[in-house]
Amino acid sequence: MDSQATEANPGVSRAKEDMSSEEKAGELALQTDETPVGCVFVHEGVIIGRGMNATNRTLNGTRHAEFEAINEILTTPASTSSGDLTDAESSEGVPDQCEMKYTPAILKECDLYVTVEPCIMCASLLRQFGIRKVYFGASNEKFGGTGGVLNIHRANGRVPKEGEVLERHKDDYEVSGGWLREEAILLLRRFYVQENGKAPVPKKRKDRTVKDVEPLEETTQS
């Protein structure tokens, strides 16, 4: 529980609460045989969208939690009264008739809390749609896009030339890793023990047990 930076930070307790919320999304993913990654988008202290990985359900390897959450945010109707959808034809591709609660511009004012570091694809999605800050649990050395493999959040991942200091670009965003890292890693390990039933048969796997999480030597701030 104490693996993240413990400096006095007014956002810390809230960040923990939000992380717990997306842990729950991850739990749900685990029950539905999805790789357990969950996320929430927070705007001015309010969760406005949730997502969990849906790659197995959709047979679409790009349906990561971040896509699902952004879809939820951008399709939330402005009026919450459910009796609005009287017009049956409205489901047939005339979305302009219904006002949406949020415009995409809100994403630039949101913070994202996600159990695992966004992959390169999602890091680019966030960069193109806009985001203020990303808090993640476990880092992802296999295909992480906010420090794990590339730094898409900074200059779209361009590596600075020798002696060059990268200028801040308007689409750049802040990233902070290691939040509830142990919980996030355990969630993933439990999944890989139960196996991804949709993935091709692995060549060889030894005894599948959930190991403990090794403590982090230093915080992975980037």
Partner: protein, 389 residues
Amino acid sequence: MSTNFDRKCSSPSREGGALRQSPVFSLSPLKTTLATQKHEATLRVYISTIPVKSASTILGRLRNAEIDNGLNLQHLRRFAKYTDVPEHVLSSIQAARRSLGLGPDVDASQELLLLVGGINSVSHEEVHYIISPTVTPVPICSIMVPLLAPTSHEQAVSWSSRFWPTVYKKSNPFGPHPSIISRAQEDIDGDARTWMELAIGAGQESRRLGHGEAIGVAVVERCDGQPRLLAVSGDARWLDWKYGSSGNVAGHAVLRSIAMVATAIKASENGNIDSTETACTATRSIFHDKPMISAEHGQSRASTSRYLCHGLEIYCSHEPCVMCSMAILHSRFGKVIFNKRMPETGGLSSEGVLAHGLFWRKELNWTLLAWEMSNSDASDETLGLEINA
């Protein structure tokens, strides 16, 4: 819209216009990040001399010493004859002999040169320890050698004459082996143009209808040499999108094609369920997974159940952005071919501004083959450099 667009939209058919030659497409494999960045990396290694008859003893002692952890120097000969090394290597070892008070005369038939290991993996003392039981004193010097294996016989010959005897083992440390690339290229060479023209055409239709930028994609399955079209998609970032910025990022053509393949797989797995039902059923969605424009309709279904887009070919009118490049990897495509390079936003190439070379990076969990398929028709409109295709 304008006749201008109509002219551009009419995809160049194979009959060809009498006045205007249809464009000639040519495939060139993309370079990997390693190939562009570590072209001729070198490493400093210790060498020494040993009696020919002690070679096997020394080999055993080297193995026990377990030096060069993690370094792969299989492309370099362990032992070399005096006649097989470049002049500067001989003078270095002669200097080492002189410093030990040894004469310049060597019986070249009774002695071998030995490559011990990288100077960062083994110390001078360790080299001495390994060799001293067979011969004393031990002349030791260091030379530069190529760090990575050569990618052709010619390169091996050149390196042998410049550094140290080097062997070409038909491997490519920088990426997929050249013979794999050329074989795969032969497979697609005959019809790649057809699919690329479909992709380009879909993009132009999308643009003409105001759905998105002039970016299009086609996905092809190849079974026993027989190609089959699985999906065609045009960009849809401006469809149902009244906001500015860069449009609906989830409407990029690559993502749409991937979703269409998923729909086809689902349909084939569930028997004959109407594809409109299996596609995104939510009334509103940022995903435009269903075919909309004429170019997108009438594709065959996935013939077999498959894991995602495993092994499929994807033809893109433009080099995909970072997001779409990684989406192609996540979907386990086998080949990606793009027409127009996007030098500032493209994620596949290892040369442009970003230089990510995502199609083949060892740290990622998937690699695939990638080609740039340029055409001679330079009159085509080009996208703004800042656009993410």
